[in-house]
Amino acid sequence: MNENRRQILDMLAAGKINADEAERLLSALEQNPSNATSEFTGKTSGGATVKTRAKYLRVLVEADESMTGMKGQTTVNVRVPMQLLRAGVRLASLIPAQAHQQLDQALSQHGVPLTLSQIKPENLEELIDHLEDLTVDVNGNEGNATKVRVFCE
């Protein structure tokens, strides 16, 4: 059962949509299964808000001179398609198992406590779903005008 069908059934079980609306959503899904970003829009008659899937991951960085050492403010604005993240995670699954340990050690030495073997294609959608709800706002302290924003849109 794919993620979209699961989401519809969860909403039906929670009472956010009725059976007719669930049937319409499932029919739309069957007609166009490849378009996972457009069928969940707007509100249902019960008032439940159906969430659209985020298409892009945005990273915004604004750093001032004290942070970068460069004259004037530095701005970085990156927009990456979510599909690229999915492809990147699948690419990580190609890394041989024996290399995982060495990579994990190297990452943790650089302050990134990430276990690559735990990132698998089957929990990829769950990872992306959590990423869709993520918004990180980092403001500099001590008068530092550095800002970092990470969010999905």
Partner: protein
């Protein structure tokens, strides 16, 4: 959909910026011509790395097809660099 065009815009303070339009779709020509050689190299690397060659090719293809929509903009010291992949 594979990336078709990359647009690079570079500008500096007190200078006219310029756009570079890179026709990425033209890369298909050398790719097709060199495909046997590229496949042999990929096959050798995958065998050495104990990786399924078809999974590797599928992953790189998926990565390539998900590049359109990427937008990177960096501004520093009055200089601006923008890269868009369509």
């Amino acid at each position: 959909m594979t990336p078709n065009i990359a647009i690079v815009h570079i500008s500096r303070p007190h200078h006219l910026g310029f756009h570079i339009w890179l026709p990425l779709f033209l890369l298909w020509i050398p790719l097709v011509l060199l495909s046997p050689l590229i496949f042999l190299i990929v096959l050798a690397v995958c065998i050495a790395g104990r990786v399924n060659v078809f999974c590797a090719i599928a992953s790189f293809w998926e990565l390539s097809c998900s590049l359109p929509g990427t937008h990177v903009h960096v501004r520093s010291e009055g200089k601006r660099v923008t890269v868009r992949i369509l």
